[in-house]
């Protein structure tokens, strides 16, 4: 990628970050995430000897839940809203290509989520430290995969955003995220539906994004060891899946008429 192309992707990414910061919805979600963390603190005080685990559990779960909501509800509008409002037209008339615009949007929202996850991680660490509990770097082994999962959600939201309206893109993205959270149910589908073709079950299990791969919350909260190799595998899985989804999104966006 040449310097000019990189500069344009950067310009779109920076503007996307500015847009998400100026949208109130981001603050609302962060606010609710803080509430959830405080709720974890309260529940931790009610639980005997389980307090630290519960605080970590609820803190990480809120990070994942609210991060997913931000990724979906801002992500689905990223391209669809621009097409519907036609704010895209004067931009694409400039040297900015569709690929650069699409990748800039992904990078901008990815950075927004990084800031969001960073703030929520800091909140969780402060909660732990403020109540005299141990803050360890082991938490990063749950937070990092959560962030990778959020990037995958953004990529899916952007893909649907290029081919349909914001509302339908939200429905499709939520559907895929929910299906991906329950991928073990799909794998065991034949136990409840014996007539389901095994090739279909296998295809769905491997083709749908498996969001359980990004879930290290319990292991980290219980203090179980998480080898670095597991982090490497989840990184590779995310890189391949996100790459494929982005390529599909780019192909769809390149051929879309903006009439």
């Amino acid at each position: 990628m040449g310097a000019g192309r990189l500069a344009r992707v950067w310009a779109v990414a920076a503007n996307t970050f500015r847009e998400t910061v100026r949208e109130r919805v981001l603050y609302n979600l962060v606010f609710f995430a803080v509430i959830m963390t405080l709720a974890g603190l309260l529940m931790g005080q009610l639980s005997i000897r389980q307090d630290e685990k519960i605080i970590k559990d609820i803190g990480l779960a809120s990070m994942e839940l609210f991060g997913t909501l931000i990724a979906i509800f801002i992500g689905v509008g990223m391209v669809a809203k621009e097409i519907e409002r036609r704010s895209l037209h004067p931009l694409l008339a400039k040297p900015l290509s569709r690929d650069e615009f699409f990748l800039g949007k992904f990078a901008g929202l990815g950075f927004t989520l990084l800031v969001n996850v960073g703030l929520m991680s800091a909140g969780l660490a402060l909660t732990l430290a403020g109540t005299g509990r141990r803050v360890d770097l082991h938490l990063l082994k749950a937070i990092y995969p959560i962030y990778l999962g959020l990037l995958l959600v953004v990529a899916l939201a952007l893909l649907f955003s290029t081919v349909t309206s914001s509302a339908l893109a939200a429905v499709f993205t939520v559907g895929l995220v929910v299906a991906g959270r329950f991928s073990d149910v799909i794998r065991n589908m034949r136990e409840v539906a014996p007539n389901a073709p095994s090739w279909l079950v296998g295809f769905l299990y491997y083709a749908l994004p498996n969001f359980r791969n990004f879930d290290f919350k319990d292991r980290v909260a219980y203090g179980d060891p998480v080898p670095l190799a597991a982090m490497g595998l989840v990184t590779a899985y995310a890189a391949v899946y996100i790459g494929v989804v982005l390529l599909m999104g780019l192909a769809a966006f390149r051929s879309r008429e903006l009439s």
């Binding site: 036609r86 704010s87 004067p90 008429e257 903006l258």
Partner: protein, 326 residues
Amino acid sequence: MSAAPPDSTGPALDVRGLSKTYRTGLFQKKKGRPALKGLDLTVQRGEILGYLGPNGSGKTTTLKILMGLVFPDRGTGTVLGYPLGDRAWRHRAGYLPEQPYFYDYLTAREYLDYAGHLFGLSASVRRERTGRLLERVGLRRSAGVPLRRFSKGMMQRVGIAQALINDPELVILDEPMSGLDPIGRRLVRDIILGLRDEGKAVLFSTHILSDAEALCDRVALLRGGALLRVGDLAGILGSDVSHMEILVAGLGREVVDRLAPALKASHPLGERWRLEAGEESLASIVRQVEEAGGRVLSIQPVRQSLEDYFIREMGERTEDGWELEG
């Protein structure tokens, strides 16, 4: 920045055989009515070309094809010497879309800065041009106001400013006068004329024929996706007098009725009458008016206006009046 174009002396824009039919239906399989049918269009460097036609005639489709927003079924062309599909010419062109919408969470200054970023302009050039353009479109005092608080006319002027941020050689404007009040229209007219004085080419579509008459070196008239006529206004409208307009006073209706066979039209204006007649019957009418005790206040030759031509060529008279159909 892009390399030098292969041909910097040819027309600013030259397209041949552009055709487009939009597809409809769930899977985009069904073909609708053709939006463009083999369009040939040339814009010379340093000229203003008005692109005219009724709603649905294919004006916006043409401009969207030029800017790569929709894809033609057939056709080819060059822009500033580059092939139409080459993005290099975008560095040297500006575009205002129809009814533009810009990010309303940005201020006018921020939006122009963002647009400048996309052209790879340095921070100092962006700052200088942003200030100069906001001044030029009359928005200097609103530079720091979020666009969500802008009126439609102010938004249109931001659109014109962003189209000029790269100091383009070719400016393509889709309905630039839309939503503007008389002061805004005058301002945009002056900007367009100023661009021509700077040697830039301007292609603009409009429904406002008086603007086209006042601004254009040439006009292209589009109907039903096909080019009906293109040329300079004098060539299209002709320099011949179409009729004479005679303003008279002191005449009763019975006298005007008596003159009717020699008149093309008559319109009462309070105590006065505006009579329209051919040049050949002027002397006879003046004599009859004076003999009936009336006074001739003025006589003016009238040439065909662009509006007359447009209505005649584009419109179809129905029982209910004129109907314009693209």
